[in-house]
């Protein structure tokens, strides 16, 4: 496969992943929710303390 065709195939694959997954994104799902996800996932966010033996 030539370099150009390889690049086109790689790009098509990446765009295909977006096409497959983005269809059911809700209007509330903005990029800024990534930072919120990090904050919410932090161990002191009131969920589970590391090593605390939380319910399995």
């Amino acid at each position: 496969m030539s370099e150009n065709k390889f690049q086109q195939a790689e790009l098509a694959n990446l765009l295909g992943v977006i096409e497959r997954l983005a269809g059911d994104l809700s209007l509330a799902e903005e990029p800024a929710r990534f930072a919120a996800a990090l904050e919410d996932g932090a161990p002191d966010a009131g969920r589970v303390a590391p090593g605390a033996g939380s319910p399995r």
Binding site: V17, I18, L21, A37, E39, D44, R56
Partner: protein
């Protein structure tokens, strides 16, 4: 002075007065002069200013004034950290490729804690590339086998620490660029949580995926460096205000009961047999020191790789469009091809990828961190391959090869999670094996603590390459 001391040991010796900052700086500069012609870890050696700084620190220590925990410790910075008075090539042919209004915040914080800057370190061009080659400054050489790859993009950072040329280094990690060279060179490297360490004053490759972090011999060394580097920064809006833990003090907490997840899917598929044995051996050691090990199924990491890759390609092309447009002939064919790919990503797809990333990060928190505290996974799919074999073949093969080498690290850039690479053995050919511990967001303390416990139970991190 031993050739391969840890950063922590040297810092303690300086504090006790058994060795001086000038002696330590001279020792390392002598090693650089003797060994770096062959290893190519440095792009710029700043010997004169390093010795001047060491003399100042020695004088201050004599008067009982200590700047911080790194007083007199020689370190070096990846050549994309802007430091006034030194060129910042970013691995390109252009000596002054990147400038900033202010010195790199992470580097400045290490120097404020007493570290001595020996110079700027080799890297792959524009921090692209997973294997560590550089056609402009010479390929960095793996201290364990100089004909083998170092891993990249922070190739010089991996080599400098592994070869005992510096006690610590700053690396950056957009798809694995701290952990890949740490793994290939047999040292310890931490990609912190996204936003844990300021990116200000460091060349951006992908603002959504870029992380700065410490590379050193041990988890304790990384904890010492991270404690100095971490925290909010008015110069970087993405540097989070999440409280900075005392990562060094936290190392002493027990690890008994920590839940370690070993993925059933993706991470062990197609893995080299020696690497798999090394990683599974490391997991057995974690169990032996008191962790509860359990298998877990992760949300598809390949989707994370694809989305992270699309975002990185898109942002890096926007950031580095000028060199691509005006001086494409200066770029290596690999770099040029990667930047050209990003130009083809429609805005619609880039924005959807950012939205999906947020969704996947939330799903990962919900599904994984409710079950385990830490993940243990391989870093590289095989020991560092021969450099010649890595560079041969048509461009599309080179691109595919680099993608395969970073497939186990990229998911955690997209998720922004802290990931610590630790040495866990050697192949029959004498090349380092490695695994990574991945933790909750902003929970560097736990991955460092478990890594420290692992290194107390093993001695892989103390092995020394034969450099003649």
């Amino acid at each position: 002075m031993p050739d391969f001391p840890s950063l922590a040991a040297v810092a303690a010796s300086i504090r006790q007065g058994t060795v001086s900052p000038v002696e330590v700086a001279r020792h390392h500069l002598d090693r650089v002069a003797r060994l770096d012609v062959r290893l190519r870890a440095f792009i710029t050696v700043d010997a004169e200013r390093a010795l001047a700084a060491a003399r100042r620190l020695e004088d201050e220590a004599g008067r009982g004034r200590w700047r911080g925990a790194l007083h007199g410790v020689p370190v070096a910075f990846k050549d994309l950290c802007f430091i006034r008075g030194l060129p910042t090539s970013c691995g390109t042919r252009t000596a002054e490729y990147f400038t900033a209004d202010q010195d790199c915040t992470a580097a400045t914080r290490l120097l404020a804690a007493g570290a001595v800057c020996l110079g700027k370190l080799n890297m792959t061009e524009l921090a692209m590339g997973a294997l560590g080659d550089n056609p402009h400054h010479g390929h960095a050489r793996n201290p364990w086998a100089v004909e083998h790859c170092t891993g990249g993009s922070s190739s010089g950072s991996g080599v400098a620490v592994a070869a005992g040329l510096a006690l610590g280094a700053i690396g950056t990690d957009t798809g694995g660029s701290i952990r890949l060279p740490a793994a290939a060179c047999g040292i310890t490297g931490l990609k912190p949580t996204y936003g844990r360490v300021s990116r200000a004053g460091a060349m951006p490759l992908s603002w959504s995926n870029d992380h700065l972090g410490p590379m050193a011999r041990t988890a304790l060394d990384c904890a010492l460096m991270l404690r100095a580097m971490a925290g909010p920064d008015p110069l970087d809006a993405t540097a989070g205000s999440h409280p900075v833990t005392d990562y060094v003090a936290a190392l002493e907490a027990p690890v008994r009961g920590l839940r370690v997840g070993v993925p059933q899917n993706f991470f062990f598929q197609g893995l080299d047999a020696e690497m798999e044995a090394g990683v599974r051996g490391a997991v057995a050691t974690l169990a032996a020191v008191g962790a509860h090990v359990a298998e877990i199924r992760l949300p598809d990491p390949q989707v994370l790789n694809d989305i992270t890759g699309l975002i990185s390609r898109s942002e890096s092309s926007a950031l580095h469009a000028r060199v691509l447009r005006e001086r494409p002939q200066e770029l290596d064919a690999f770099t040029r091809a990667r930047l050209e790919l990003g130009l083809g990503v429609p805005a619609y797809d880039y924005l959807q990828a950012l939205r999906l990333r947020a969704r996947l990060a939330r799903a990962f928190t919900r599904e994984v961190w409710s079950e385990v505290d830490v993940l243990a996974v391989p870093v590289i799919p095989e020991p560092a391959p021969p450099l010649r074999a890595a560079l041969e073949g048509p461009l599309e093969e080179r691109i595919a090869r680099q993608g395969r080498f970073s497939r186990l690290t990229r998911p955690f850039n997209g998720l922004g999670l802290p990931a610590l690479s630790l040495p866990c053995g050697f192949s029959a050919a004498g090349l380092p094996l490695a695994f990574q511990l991945v933790g909750r967001p902003f929970d560097e303390a736990t991955v460092l603590r478990l890594g420290h416990a692992y290194q107390r139970a093993t001695d892989w991190h103390t092995r020394e390459p034969d450099l003649g």
